[in-house]
């Protein structure tokens, strides 16, 4: 099926192409692209100027040096001839530098069914095909699979809600993975792409989407090449080639409605909900948005059976999930663990402290919070791990070995959330920079009031959860911010 609004949806691919070809996109370049797509220049400019990557010259000569949280904690600093860049999602080799490279097999530290060596047959897909749509939905329901992007919404419920509209629907795979400290989708796409393709085929088989889009992080070149090659080699199992769209950066791009706007060629900002994407998403179609790991889990569930999937994890949160473990541990990397494992156990699996004793863990990145070592008995389960902010989220765990590192990371995350605010809603756009200023200056009068406003009033999860790192750091280490 041809895509609706084809002209406007050509905007982001055209911007990506122009940026790759000639670096930073200015208004005149955006204007030329707009003219080619026969759309108003102001509309192309509002979208183009909202993707941080398009502001940057394509670095030539200068070596990128990662200054994301894990690299910062490892002492990263950009020297002469180098350029500081946001998290490169290579926290397993912090401090990281250089261009994006394929995720190395050696950084897969613990494999379960998701990260096991790839299969040579399509038994999962065959089983799904044999059971038909209703059988797949029933199997999914029995498995209890919950979305691995971080919100843990039951996948069977999401699919059923979209199918219940009885209208042509869209399937969007969220492969943006823009959260600092998370790199597990890159691991899957680089090292187990065939499993992802099998899961995708199962989803397409069951949902029969009119449109399938894989939205992939614009900088994840290694994952792009590996995925493209797998889609080409195994294209025969997919009824139609999915459309692959690359992003232009920005943490908020991983928020699903922001992603839908980006695909449509609109400014990448969140939409109000309701309507939820399953009701009205991409071009108004009922839309299922699933994370890469969720899609790959389908292959595991239909290969091993729902009961085998349920045998791992907990009753309410079955299965395994991928953790991106980084920081001051002996063996940082991707760990496939059963849901419900404790942080202490993860630390042990990761070989314990690399040098000094661990004092804190950041769980959930910029949308999560810090936990002191005394709480490491907490099991990793969906939802908040602590009322002050820590959450399992997309499975990022950063271990820190000094109070100074906690302070540095908290300030980094407060600044990150301010810089990554898309600017659409007032509490986040106006609140996040002031929250960062208050934390940095130590003048915290009114800070809790401000954090409450951001948490309750913000439009999307980015603003609602931005208080987490600040609140948790202040709760457990008030003396660091006096």
């Amino acid at each position: 099926m041809d895509l609706p609004s084809a002209a406007r949806s050509g905007l982001l691919p055209a911007l990506v192409e122009a940026h790759t070809r000639c670096g930073a996109i200015d208004a005149s370049e955006a204007g030329r692209i707009a003219a080619g797509l026969r759309m108003p220049a102001a509309l192309a400019w509002e979208a183009a100027s909202s993707f941080p990557d398009f502001e940057r010259e394509t670095a030539r000569g200068a070596e990128p040096v990662c200054v994301g949280p894990a690299c910062l904690a490892a002492g990263a600093i950009a020297g002469p001839g180098q350029v500081a860049v946001e998290c490169q999602h290579r926290c397993f080799e912090a401090p990281a530098a250089g261009e994006d490279a394929p995720f190395p097999e050696s950084a897969i530290r613990l494999a379960g069914p998701l990260l096991a060596p790839e299969d040579t047959d399509w038994r999962g897909l065959d089983a799904a095909r044999a059971s038909g749509r209703d059988g797949v939905l029933a199997g999914l329901e029995r498995s209890g699979l919950r979305g691995r992007g971080g919100a843990y919404f039951p996948v069977a419920s999401k699919w059923s809600a979209a199918l219940a509209r009885e209208r042509p629907l869209a399937l969007v795979v969220n492969a943006e993975e823009g959260e600092p400290g998370v790199y597990k989708d890159r691991a899957l796409l680089c090292r187990r792409p065939r499993r992802f393709v099998e899961g995708l085929a199962i989803a397409i088989e069951a949902l029969a989407p009119a449109v399938t889009v894989i939205f992939l992080n614009g900088r994840a070149q290694g994952a792009m090449e590996s995925m493209r090659s797998a889609l080409e080699s195994h294209g025969d199992i997919l009824p139609a080639a999915p459309r692959v769209v690359r992003g232009g950066g920005g943490y908020v791009l991983g928020e699903e409605t922001t992603m839908l706007n980006a695909i449509e060629g609109r400014k990448p900002v969140p939409r109000v909900r309701p309507p939820f994407p399953v009701e009205s998403g991409l071009w108004g179609m009922p839309t299922v948005v699933n994370n890469v790991e969720t899609i790959a889990s389908l292959a595991v569930i239909f290969r091993e059976g729902a009961a085998a999937f349920r045998a791992r994890g907990t009753a309410a949160a079955p299965g395994t999930r991928l953790l991106s473990v980084s920081g001051a541990v002996a063996r940082p990397g991707v760990y496939e663990v059963e849901m419900g494992v404790t942080i202490a156990r993860v630390l042990e699996m990761a070989g314990g402290p690399a040098a000094r004793p661990i004092v804190a863990a950041l769980a959930g990145g910029p949308s999560g919070g810090f936990l002191p070592e005394s709480t490491f008995g907490t099991p990793l389960l969906p939802g908040q791990l602590h009322a002050t902010g820590a959450a399992l989220g997309a499975g990022g765990l950063l271990f820190l070995d000094s109070p100074a590192a906690v302070r540095k990371t908290a300030l980094y995350l407060a600044e990150f959330n301010a810089a990554e605010s898309c600017g659409k809603c007032t509490p986040c756009r106006e609140g996040a920079p002031r929250a960062h200023e208050m934390l940095a200056s130590g003048n915290k009068a009114g800070l809790e009031d401000l954090l409450e406003v951001m948490a309750v009033a913000s439009l999307c999860g980015l603003g609602q959860m931005a208080p987490g790192p600040i609140r948790s750091a202040l709760h457990f280490w008030p003396e660091l911010f006096a």
Binding site: W45, E46, S50, P274, G423, V456, A457
Partner: protein, 207 residues
Amino acid sequence: MSLTVDGIEAPAEGTLLDAVLAAGIGLPHLCTDDNLAAIGACRTCLVEADGRIVAACSAPASQFHQVATRGAVVERIRRGVLELTAAMVSPGSLDRPGGPHAGELAAALASHSARLDRYPHRTRTRSDATNTFFSFHEEACILCGRCVAACQELQHIGAIGMAGRGGATRVTPGADATFADSICTSCGSCVAACPTPALSPREAFAP
């Protein structure tokens, strides 16, 4: 199922904002006007609905039973959002004459006893007086998005957009463009929608 707003029976149709206004109760709604779908940007129409705080503009009335616009927590948070909004406009800029809805922000600030100096001001200062019929003063702009929605969704023109992100977001006809050299047709929809005097009729055309 019945819906009450502050104890008053209200029609459970459309959004909670529709229900609140139909019950004759005042509630700020700086990014929503009658002609446009919910934008969800200003976050000033927060109400407490069945124990949750939600933005009334985008909450379906049929899903709720008891709605309160009053209450310590919801009023404190609305005031907080309004105080952040107040910090976006320069002192005095709201006193300027404007379009038909230009007084909405000032009225919301007054009804909530919002402190205008709660947060250090962070105002944008560009002006554009190149159009014959209206002018644009960023110092009174709160980035609610009504003007952009009116231009793009209501009039299908697309002369203006919300360029940039985060604190650098601004309403603009293009990077260095002016209204005069944009595709603006001077239809006036943006001026009619603006809840502050940011987009205001030129003196000769003021109502």
